[in-house]
């Protein structure tokens, strides 16, 4: 009976009309209307969209008109009849304390004469209610489910999204305090630029990866090193970093690991001495471009940082980080470099060479050309405000038309679970942004760093880097973006977007701390296990933690030089 009663209550709640600010009666301003304008901001000065503003006569409280604040917080309220007497402007917005302001008689006269009155900025105070706690609990649960691998990340994000809507549409109808945000508002948090850029790049990468270019390059590195394993690892670090910057680190390691295992065996060394540095270089190398890491794609779309922005502002920091990484692994694996290579028999050498052949030379040059044009499109597109998703989608389509691969196969190459993960994640992060958790975090960090840009860079690089060791860096970066936006606006010098670059560095470099810190680490470990050479959690940690903090230091120093000292 209690179950049925609960279900019945839920159904009734769902059927009940939902009070939504978006549905508020709007008054379209006509040329002969009397217009009151203003702006809604929170206590951080950030705009408040979707707030309901209503004008009432005083003291009888008759409704004169209603309006809704836009994305930039501005609102325009139209009154169709000439105002008489005092007017009170009331503001309501879920998760904020309701506010009211009276227009003085002088102001009403001004409105009557000029047909416009500027009320100015109205600051609303945050209200921590049941919706806040629900959204916060859901967000933390999603992060925990992903971090402890209790659930697939996409399922975890979808579960979080569902819980948010249950809170809004079921509990919110029983008690309005549980309202988090309505469906239309939730959709505004989805960044479609990210979705389409990721989708376009997935198709391009799927075509390039089948050409065999990764294996061929690794084999050329083997030949070039002339059997000197210390030189080989340096070349492989460079190749992996560049490949990760241009494609993505997951695919790079997926295809570099098998051939690197074979090369390590051919040299008579522990192949992990090549592969662990490679995967760490792949996590670092991606930082230098917009498309190198998923977190950069998120940051780029949010902060309007293009391909050349990342390239020009991050590359030297990445090179410094790679230098420190190289020095560390040269020292750590020094016993391996001292081993004498027994050399390969002609038969095994031929087998290795065959395994490293270019599979499809025709497809390689065609896809290489299109990929180059996509990169050019990224750079030129910035000048004409073309979102990076456009060149990526054009490139993907051009390859599909030119190479005529199996379209079904290519569509399968698009990882829809990842795209759904992004969509659900955007809404979950949007929920904690809506209820004010992100503002609280921003306040906390702001209180910690004050107006010091140096301290802010330090806290973001090392704080996010340390959190990324254990927490999945994509949700972390997504939830930090509004915080960074606030800090960038409030700290002197922050408008250079340096804090976004700090976020990029921290999120990606932290992935080297633990084996579970990045997807590339996991796939690499999976492949080495297939060759009887598993990478243990402890072994990775022994190398990963020092590398993480060395590379974070390099990134921090570079950002300091680039944006503060020079």
């Amino acid at each position: 009976v209690p179950v049925f009663a609960t279900l019945a209550a839920m159904l009734l709640a769902l059927m009940a009309p939902v009070s939504r600010p978006a549905d508020a009666k709007q008054s379209e301003a006509q040329f002969d209307d009397y217009v009151i304008t203003g702006r809604l901001v929170d206590n951080q000065g950030q705009p408040i969209p979707s707030g309901t503003i209503s004008a009432h006569t005083t003291p009888d409280g008759g409704l004169l008109g209603e309006a809704e604040s836009r994305e930039d917080g501005y609102w325009t309220l139209a009154i169709h009849e000439a105002p008489q007497g005092a007017i009170t402007i009331s503001v309501e917005k879920p998760h904020f304390e309701a506010a009211a302001r009276s227009i003085p008689s002088q102001g009403v006269r001004q409105l009557a004469e000029n047909r416009i009155y500027r009320l100015g900025v109205l600051q609303l105070e945050r209200r921590v209610g049941a919706g806040f706690w629900m959204a916060t609990a859901i967000f933390i649960t999603v992060l925990a489910l992903i971090a402890f691998e209790r659930m697939h990340s996409t399922t975890a994000a979808l579960a979080g999204l569902s819980a948010i809507f249950v809170s809004t549409f079921v509990l919110g109808n029983l008690n309005a305090d549980f309202h988090i945000f309505d469906f239309e508002r939730a959709l505004t948090f989805i960044n479609w630029e990210v979705i389409f850029l990721v989708m376009g790049m997935m198709i391009i990468v799927a075509i390039i990866e089948e050409t065999g270019i990764f294996k061929w390059t690794a084999f050329q590195a083997y030949r070039l090193s002339g059997g000197r394993s210390w030189l080989l690892v340096l070349i492989l670090i460079a190749i992996t970093a560049v490949a990760s910057a241009l494609l993505d680190n997951f695919t790079t390691m997926l295809l570099m690991t098998p051939i690197s295992l074979q090369i390590g065996l051919a040299l008579g060394i522990n192949p992990l001495a090549l592969i662990i540095p490679e995967v760490m270089a792949s996590n670092v190398g991606g930082i230098s471009t917009l498309i190198g890491t998923p977190t950069n794609i998120l940051i780029g779309a949010y902060a309007d940082i293009g391909f050349s922005g990342f390239l020009l502002n991050q590359t030297i920091g990445v090179l410094l980080a790679l230098l420190l990484l190289s020095l560390f692994v040269l020292f750590y694996f020094r016993a391996e470099w001292a081993k004498q290579s027994p050399g390969l028999s002609p038969k095994l050498y031929q087998a290795l060479r065959d395994n490293a052949r270019i599979e499809e030379p025709g497809a390689l040059w065609k896809s290489g050309l299109v990929f180059f044009l996509v990169l050019v499109g990224f750079v030129i597109g910035e000048r004409f405000h073309v979102p990076p998703a456009v060149p990526a989608l054009l490139g993907a389509t051009a390859l599909l038309v030119w190479l005529k691969p199996d379209v079904h196969h290519m569509i399968q190459a698009v990882d829809w679970t990842t795209l759904v993960f992004f969509i659900a994640l955007f809404i979950v992060v949007g929920a904690v942004q809506e209820v004010g958790l992100i503002s609280l975090i921003a306040d906390g960090i702001s209180g910690l760093v004050g107006e010091s840009l140096i301290l802010a860079i330090f806290v973001i690089v090392f704080g996010v880097g340390t959190l990324s060791v254990a927490i999945a860096n994509i949700p972390l970066a997504a939830s930090m973006l509004p915080v960074i936006e606030f800090l960038s606006g409030s700290i002197p010098g922050g408008s250079s977007k340096v804090l976004y670059y700090a976020l990029s560095m921290g999120a990606a470099m932290g992935g080297n701390g633990m084996l579970v810190g990045a997807e590339a680490n996991l796939v690499t470990a999976g492949i080495t296990e297939q060759a009887g050479m598993p990478i243990s959690f402890t072994e990775f940690l022994k190398i990963g933690l020092p590398v993480t903090y060395l590379t974070l230091s390099a990134g921090f120093l570079w950002l300091l030089l680039r944006f503060v000292l020079l």
Binding site: E209, F421, L522, E529, G532
Partner: protein, 153 residues
């Protein structure tokens, strides 16, 4: 008489490989080397994975690993065949035992770093082989016999 040795390679497996080559040489038996690739580890990741391509890569990796063992065994005069399979390890074992009339199956002892099997899988495999085949199972650890199970099937 034919010995089947399932291996993934790796430095830790080298001593076991030497043991199997020595065993085959002493008993004048043929040696069948088996590498079973399994892409199940990709379930741990959420990123897009070109499954066909990865299976192909792992097959090439396996072929190279087995070629290194085969070169050493043939240098000792042991007639050797290398086989690559995908998917379930027990299923691959059963197929090869039947196809090549295997008498002895040699496996790296569970718990050893490069062992193909976990203790749970090993128990399952032994029970399966006893029920379905005439082959005996020999466990090797660090280049020495770690125990064998008589054929009962």
């Amino acid at each position: 008489m034919t010995i089947l040795y399932a291996t993934r390679g790796g430095e830790a497996a080298r001593a076991n490989q030497d043991y199997v080559i020595e065993l085959a040489m002493q008993q004048g038996e043929e040696l069948v080397l088996l590498y079973v690739a399994n892409v199940r580890f990709l379930n741990r990741t959420a990123s897009p994975t070109p499954l066909d391509l990865i299976e192909e890569e792992l097959e090439e990796l396996g072929a190279f690993l087995l070629a290194m063992v085969q070169e050493r065994s043939e240098a000792q005069g042991v007639k050797t065949t290398s086989l690559i399979r995908q998917g379930s390890f027990p299923a691959a074992l059963l197929d090869v035992i039947e196809d090549y009339s295997i008498d002895t199956v040699v496996l790296g002892s569970p718990g050893e770093e490069s062992a193909v099997t976990s203790p749970e899988l090993m128990n399952h495999v032994i029970r399966l082989l006893q029920a379905e085949t005439q082959a005996s199972v020999l466990l090797v650890r660090e280049g020495r016999a770690a125990g064998d199970t008589p054929p009962t099937g």
